[in-house]
């Protein structure tokens, strides 16, 4: 996990079963293990009212483990973008008593939370747990383009090509960290690139 950081940087917890009528899980890759860990602590019948949206990623692991929880609804999708229309509809139709649990990469948690905020759910009411990659989603402050899965510092904006310092400053509204040109004052200064968000 990240060392000492700044206040806008999200802080994640550990999923735990919440009282509620319906339970919506959004998760990717190793985030599935946060759900199976929660299941070990959950009361009997907890998943009978659960909906799991899972993006397993390339290796396709953990599908069977989640299906074994016998949720009322289980969806497996190839990417967050493909899962988003379903997630938005579920949030739009949600009634009081829905509990939301997000687990997995920061990009997944951030984007699912963004959809939940737009649906009027307060961010403090959402359970989150970080598992897996530390890759970041960044917004280039200059061209406003979003670059996904950034693992290096600095990183190149995939839209305008500027070399960006990846900051810890984070916007829930954009579901992104901020990227600011690292050599804006003198473009000939090229700092070494390190892979630090794996």
């Amino acid at each position: 996990m990240a060392a000492k950081s700044i206040i806008s940087r999200p802080v994640y917890g550990t999923l735990s079963p919440q009282p509620g009528k319906h339970h919506l899980f959004v998760t990717d890759a190793e985030g599935a293990l946060a759900i199976t860990d929660l299941a070990a602590k959950a009361p009997y019948g907890f998943f009978a009212d659960a909906h799991i949206i899972f993006i397993p990623g390339q290796d396709g692991r953990h599908v069977a483990a989640l299906e074994a929880l016998k949720p009322a609804q289980f969806y497996q999708g190839p990417s967050f973008a493909s899962a988003l229309p379903r997630l938005k509809q579920t949030l739009a139709n949600a009634h009081m008593g829905l509990r939301l649990y997000l687990a997995g990469t920061e990009g997944l948690i951030g984007q699912a939370m963004q959809a939940a905020l737009e649906a009027g759910i307060d961010h403090t009411a959402i359970q989150t747990e970080h598992r897996g990659s530390l890759a970041r989603r960044i917004q280039c402050v200059h061209c406003k383009g979003i670059t996904e899965n950034v693992t290096t510092q600095p990183a190149t904006c995939s839209h305008c090509g500027l070399l960006l310092l990846v900051r810890d400053h984070y916007s829930r509204r954009l579901a992104a960290f901020q990227g600011v040109c690292i050599n804006a004052e003198d473009r000939s200064e090229i700092p070494p690139t390190e892979e630090i968000f794996r």
Binding site: S8, Q178, A184
Partner: protein, 346 residues
Amino acid sequence: MGITFRKETFRDDFTFKNSPEHIRRFPFPFHEDSYMYAVNIEPHVLGPKGSVLENLIDVDEHYVAEMQDRALVLAEDPLRCQSLPHMTLAGWDLLELLMEQQALGYPEHFSLTRDGDRWRWINRPLGIDDSFTFGDVSTLPYGPMEYITRQSQGDFCILDQRDGNLWMDAGMVTTQADWSLDFDIGMNFFEWHAPVPLAHEKGIFVRALKFLTNIQQGKPARRLNWTMTINPRLDTSPENYHKWGPDRTTVTPENVGDKVHLRVELQSFWRLPRSNGIVFPIRCYLIKMDELVTQPKWARRLHRVIRDLPEELANYKGLTRYRATLVEWLSKLDDGSPTSPGFGPD
């Protein structure tokens, strides 16, 4: 009488400068020979005639040129002005406040007449004469916040107050010292200040928030903040950092006096009556070193402040590249004699 508005630019050929009267009224931000963060908030009450506090919303000789510069920034990047959907009422509150204050302070330039909800606003320097219905967005060419802040100097943030916190939910931000409204909109007080070094550990923001959430209607407060800018550029946004950043490499011992500017923000905080929000105008004043050092006390004091500034603050304020050149230049104007207490020139 009235103000003689200067024709000048804040970009390209940078013809901005201050008249001798405006140099003397510059809000110099250091009351002693050193600087560290403090919760330096005080009641925003009227000050001496001829100072920037002669009126609570100050209009000066740069008004027309600043409004032209704002229009250029917005044409290039409309995201500098944003308002979340629940903030329209607060926008009307702000429109009322700025129209009232500008008409009160400068009746020769602005006038507001009201007949119930039917309002007429005349802005003579910008050639505007609009009649509209207060509260009816369809009767103005922009939303209420954008309409009035295209006619008011300084940046404006409107903060929504809820859950014991303040939320940056609307703003017009075109003259900022390197922060992005587009990125920070929707954040709470601690989140949007997250990148500021040292101050969190000192408990500055906890105390400041407590003060701000208790601000009462009709009792505004203020504080000064400062940084430095190369060339009299209003738009030092992070959005355009890759365009203005190279200016910082151009400072030489020969051009310090002309290029290096002290940038002072007069920030004020006002409770809004209908929305219960807070508006936070950030009014920017620029002065080049050649103008500032015409006041010997300011020259001596600024030398000592910049020389002794903690490294972390100097980095945060972006002074690192030219600090040594500036301190060397200012040192020649500092004979070591004491400075008198207080902000003003001798």
